[in-house]
Amino acid sequence: MLLERDDLLATLGNLLECARSGDGSLVLLAGEAGSGKTSVTRELANSVGDTAVVLWGACDPLSTPRPLSPLHDFAADPDSGLSGLLDEHVEAVETFGTVLARLKGTLRPVLMVVEDLHWADEGTLDFVRFVGRRVADTNALAVCTYRDDEVGPDHPLKLVLGQLGPMETTHRLDVRPLSVAAVAVLAGERAVDAEALHRLTDGNAFYVTEVIAAEESLPGTVQEAVLARVGRLGDGPRRVVEAVSIAPRSLEISHVGLLTGALVEDIDETAGSGVLAAEGRFLSFRHELARAAVEESIPMARRLDLHRRMLSLLEDADSPDRARLAHHAMRADAADLVVDHAPLAAQEASKRGAHKEAISFYESVLSHPELVGDDRVAEFRLALATEFGIVDRQGEALRQATLAVDHYRAGNRTDRLAAALVQVAGPQWSLGDAPSCRATIDEAVELLTRLGPSRDLAHALYTSSHFYMLARQGQFALEVVKRSAAMAEEFGANDIGWSARLIIGCIEIITGAPLRGLAVLNEIKEEAERGDDPHRVAKTLGMLGSGGGEARLYDDAISALDEGIVQGLAADEDYAVAYNRSWLARIAFEQGRWNQAVEYAELVDRTSSTGVGIANVTARGALGRVRVRRGDPGGRELIEDTLQLGVSYELQHVWAPLCGLAEHEWLSGRAQRIPVLLSEDYGRALDTDSQWARGELGFWMWRAGAIDGPPDNAARPFALQMAGEWRAAAEAWREIGCPYEVALALADGDETACLEALPTFDSLGARPAASLVRARLRDVGVKNIPKGPTKQTLANPAGLTSRQLEVLGLMASGMSNAEIADELFLAKKTVEHHVSAIFSKLSVTTRAKAIVAAHELGTTQK
């Protein structure tokens, strides 16, 4: 039994009962090392007996953690029902999904324990985040233990705690130090001063029990207490204890004999003494503090020898555990073995999505360059650069790839040099150095072209076309990518061929053959779906959404963006979700759905963790433009601040917000300032073949009188308007579905057209534009100009506003207030207000009656 843990255990027991009835939750159980977190979770697991399924996993204190260690533990437990969990070629997200399915819909609730999260690798943290966000609908209680005193502000666990902490299904519990009274109970008959012991140990449960077991007058530290206890063992058992201490978590009993020559009796004695615990085929320390104390105490030569013997044992295993091998190789100071094992451990970690671990393995190899040889050093640097790129450490990626380039430049390997150059170009672009990036990729293409057609050249051409597409140099990119596609086919490189077609589709959408581009993208999306390749599907959806959005092909873009968001949420791809939402904000702005534009934009800012990325620029640009068109304060400032944060954005990300600044000046009667604002980027646009950038930037330059007519190859509605064809322009905008632009075109026309524009501006709430039109009509002497927006007439018998109708419709579909708040991006409190207004207008007092009344009114069909 455990002292002073009854309340904690009762709380956990209650949460497990809730899980039984389908209300799952996640507990973050914090406490310092030795406070008794494991004892609490073990006690809980024992007490539930057969009434719950127990999944038990732990993270290791390996110098580089084994990827997804707790999931390996689940898979190794024959009772878990998860034995095939980590088969080769299974994506991490699928694995997580399998565990999640195990947590759902069982008759017995599931107690899932993940121990020592402060040692977790990235993959495990992803897993905990994945489960934590979805635990509500499971029959599971997930308990994750960690040492809160070891989680500093930069610890990777901190971010996960921050993300999961505010959720309603997350609970934080502490394992507190023992009181003096509890220490006295533990001391029992022993001649120990309980108060002095409490002072010494701060009530740390492990420390207290070690001191009592050491049977010495109070030792100064917990290490001394542990060693005093070990010191009382005989020679044989002590060697067993030492051998187990070099294994980070536990050691196979079969290995103990081989490592030390120890007898069965010796092993039994260590387990009997309470220093070690035997569980199944393994021996382990009762606590990591004790293991570390013993390992530290072994003389250097013997410790190195133990690690070396351990290495040879592990090497003989049927399926060697690479992370474990690399750990012992590093500890054995056996550089040659580090060099043997760490690269494979790195590849394995990378495949499991544990990129930070892969980096650590590659770095340990690269600290012994003399053993590796220059060519392999360069290869490892390229692999390391790839890993750095994935975790968004672009500066280090650039450094490693550049070192590899330097090596190959000195030698004769043109093909390797070119491959390294391709790797340099990526980080250059991400770091905002687009000109260097294009120079680098040009050199790679040139070098490979000299060697004749190859798979490498096909890849370099594809990469090059991608960068030129991003710069909106569409015609050039198109020529390059077509060569890439043809060469990829010649060499049977289907992956390159697929990527090349993605670029082709995207370029066609943006530079003038939008329907052909859409067809290409839809075709390869279907291919990716048939091939069950979620990465490719997601990539295509992103291109369809942003490319379709830029070309104002709204229906196709919106459905791709919505689909991309659903998929991104399921896979925890926060960046893709934010990017897609930012495009929904921009599209909603252009379509005159300004409330929705605001909602999407605010959501992007609230949920993205990466600071001001491209998604934030697009979202804030849309929000700023809504303010400008409404005449609300802060629009110009928001756009200016956002653009200032990233001087190196590509044209495609900045032209729309810039046009917002130009419009603000025009609406404020200062059109003469527009050319200064836009001329540089208008010049950049003329170097590209992006029709819409040329069109919109050109339009505002024309409005300010800086140009007389449309530039070549400008998007049609803008070109018409710049040519003075306002009626045709309005018609074109109407077809595309941009009401504000329709009215803006009409406002260039005669009195009748201006009178036609007014109600559109008024109903959008576009006050500044409406005022300009009214002023012009007054100037030319028009009488009876309609006054501002008349009070909205309410179209339905109960007098509900449009927002209330929307809420009522969702109520009728069975949603709770919280779900409606999520759906409409409103605060829950705001929804409650709408609901009570609906009740009072419908003269009802319950939700059910409101829904019945809604059906009678026929309002739910809307």
């Binding site: 605001v598 605010e602 929000l623 809504v626 303010r627 409404r630 005449g631 609300d632 304060p633 802060g634 006050r767 501002g788 008349t790 009070k791 506003t801 927002r803 409103l826 605060a827 829950k828 409190k829 705001t830 409650e832 207000h833 709408h834 207004a837």
Partner: protein, 94 residues
Amino acid sequence: MPRYLVERSFPDGLEIPTTSEGLKACLGVVDGNTGEQVTWIRSFVTDDHQKTFCIYDGPTPEAIRRAADVSEMPVDAISEISVLDPYFYVGGQS
């Protein structure tokens, strides 16, 4: 938090009786604002009751608009404002 002046029009005239009904109407607006973290400071009403000038604290103009939507109040224009005090400069002329 920024301060805003919100102009509203009531073509039929704004009538808030000085009774418990009026109190309820005002508190309803206050309550409706809390979801958006918007605070109504005070309002000025023209003598014909057709226009109001209302001072609000709120995080963004969008939050002011959503709060108005909840309370079913019209919005003509929103301006961000700060205080100019007639005697602010008096002490500075020494």
